[in-house]
């Protein structure tokens, strides 16, 4: 008898309708559900293994690594400038904020400071990135719990930010806009005008979206009291950003450890204390309003001046100049071939990105390449808090919780 046909006795037993066959089931009455990595609600390639008892979640294990590209290894083998385009691909919903964070970390290590105008433009970049990321979050999270209209409205608004980026940086997504010691280009008055029009009209769209969600009983029911994590566990698990502020912790790096020109700008840090999905929704919505406030102040206060630091050994010259000027050609050659060679040492710089604390820890051995570059990505740390948020909840809450954590796998998997 071939090995794959069942034994005759079992077949006979199955034919007899009175037979009861019991199997040893290691899961007993539990069920294991594999969600992802290609599930539309996991926002990328997050995979979750969920153990269910009926519809209640008994345990959850996130599985990462489907988008691991080894960026830290690549960084060790590329010059400081070469790595800038890779930072776009970390949190691909807010590439400009990553560019800013990376440039700030390298500048801290090398001891360069960008001119004031460049700092204002960087704040503008970072806040536009936050708005763009939060608009995608608003759309996808609302869609995950059933409100599809908001997705289209969110993307409609985000499209306007993409247009601003197109004019400011030359591309819509992979911006690579910052340089060590400054920016690739100055900002034109058209960009300022577009940004002003955009922030003037954003409030109307926000109110529209809020009206649809806040008065929607289904939305409130699916968010209120769901995905709760206590303030103490949030701190212990290293949550940052909107997730931490939704747990009643008043912490924002823009205010607490100001970088760029945030100390000259006036803004509030929204904090809600219910620790659930709805609190995270309110925190992010309020943050978008604060970003609008910051952007209007930036446009008002932005001074004229250069956008690149005057440090020719570290800051690359403009390309046109290298064609006709000897000094610039030499510096360009040295920077491209040998890099900026920051002194021996190490530095960690973090910014408040849309997801939380985005930090770069760089070790320099005085060479053109970083000896070690560690990306402290907020999505990675925030995902670690998924199991405590999910356990005890229902299967249908999973998508709401993932939506409220707002992970971007490009950043979590590095």
């Amino acid at each position: 008898m071939p090995a794959d046909t069942p034994p005759r006795s079992i077949l006979q037993a199955l034919e007899n309708q009175d037979t009861v066959i019991t199997f040893d089931d290691p899961l007993e009455h539990d069920m294991v559900l594999n969600m992802g990595p290609q599930h539309p609600a996991t926002h990328g390639v997050l995979r979750l293994l969920i153990r269910l008892d009926g519809e209640t979640i008994v345990s959850a294990v996130p599985d990462l690594g489907y988008l691991h590209r080894g960026y830290e290894k690549i960084a060790e083998n590329s010059t400081y400038h070469e790595f800038i385009p890779h930072t776009d691909r970390l949190d691909y919903l807010s590439p400009l904020a990553n560019n800013v964070a990376y440039a700030l970390a390298v500048e801290k290590l090398a001891g360069i400071e960008a001119p004031v105008r460049a700092q204002y433009i960087r704040v503008l970049c970072a806040e536009l990135a936050r708005l763009s990321s939060h608009l995608v979050w608003l759309g996808t999270m609302a869609m995950d719990v059933g409100a599809v209209t908001i997705l289209l409205w969110g993307f409609r608004e985000r499209e306007k930010i993409q247009d601003i980026w197109d004019l400011l940086t030359g591309v819509r997504f992979t911006t690579s806009f910052t340089r060590i010691g400054g920016l690739a280009n100055d900002m034109s008055p058209e960009v300022a005008a577009m940004t002003r029009t955009f922030i003037e009209n954003l409030e109307t769209s926000l109110v529209e979206a809020e009206k649809l969600l806040k008065s929607n009983l289904i939305f409130i029911d699916r968010c209120e009291g769901v995905g709760v994590i206590s303030k103490e566990s949030a701190i212990a698990l290293g949550l940052t950003g909107p997730l931490l502020r939704a747990c009643g912790v008043d912490h924002d790096l823009r205010r607490d450890q100001p970088y760029l020109v945030y100390d000259k700008l006036d803004f509030e840090v929204p904090v809600y204390g219910d620790c659930d999905v709805l609190s995270r929704f309110y925190v992010r919505i309020e943050e978008m309003r604060e970003s609008v406030k910051i952007l209007s102040q930036v446009l008002e206060k932005m001074p004229a001046g250069p956008v690149n630091a005057s440090d020719p050994k570290k800051v690359p010259p403009r390309k046109e100049k290298t064609y006709g000027k000897m000094e610039e050609l030499i510096h360009d050659f040295m920077l491209v071939n040998f890099g900026i060679n920051p002194p021996v040492g190490e530095a960690y710089h973090a910014i408040e990105s849309s997801k939380g604390e985005l930090g770069f820890y760089i070790v320099s051995h005085g060479e053109g390449y970083p000896w070690r570059l560690k990306i402290r990505s907020p999505s990675f740390c925030n995902l670690q808090a998924m199991p405590p948020m999910l356990i005890g909840g229902m299967i249908s809450d999973v998508v709401a919780v993932i939506g409220s954590v707002d992970p971007v796998m490009g950043e979590a998997d590095k």
Partner: protein, 144 residues
């Protein structure tokens, strides 16, 4: 404590690896430090004959708004460090990542598995002796 230093306004303290859990508990609980949040934990390969690896802990105190960098040095022959997950639960995934990338084992870790690379992968990609192009054949491909 082995040494302390300051660079670009950041304090770094190097301690013996045996003392890491006691030191971490003190830094978290003592009123003078209150480093309640472990913001980052990573490994680093210095490619030197002795104490080849370092494990770096980036701490932040929500109460006093200060940062501190803590480091332990690890020999290649004895690639083990006590885990700090009992002090800061946030360390769990970071230690898994460090294990995955450098092969540093964390004692008393609740769930020390590879986090990015597949479990059957035999190398540690962020070690300096791992080539940038990868090792052909190290990742199992589907057979015909």
């Amino acid at each position: 404590m082995i040494s302390q230093s300051e660079f670009r306004g950041e304090f770094t303290v190097v301690i013996r690896k045996e003392a890491i859990v006691a030191c971490a508990t003190l830094l978290r609980d003592d009123e003078r430090f209150t480093f309640d949040s472990l913001r980052d934990l990573c490994g680093a390969d210095y490619a030197r004959p002795e104490e080849r690896f370092e494990v770096v802990y980036n701490l932040y105190s929500l109460k006093s708004n200060r940062r501190l960098r803590l480091k332990v040095r690890v020999d290649e022959a004895d690639c083990r460090v006590p885990s700090v997950t009992s002090v800061w639960p946030a360390a769990a995934w970071h230690e898994r990542e460090t294990f995955d990338m450098y092969g540093i084992t964390f004692d008393n870790h609740p769930d020390l598995r590879r986090i990015y690379m597949p479990p059957e992968f035999e190398h540690y990609p962020l070690r300096k002796d791992f080539p940038l192009m990868g090792i052909p054949g190290s990742l199992p491909l589907p057979r015909k």
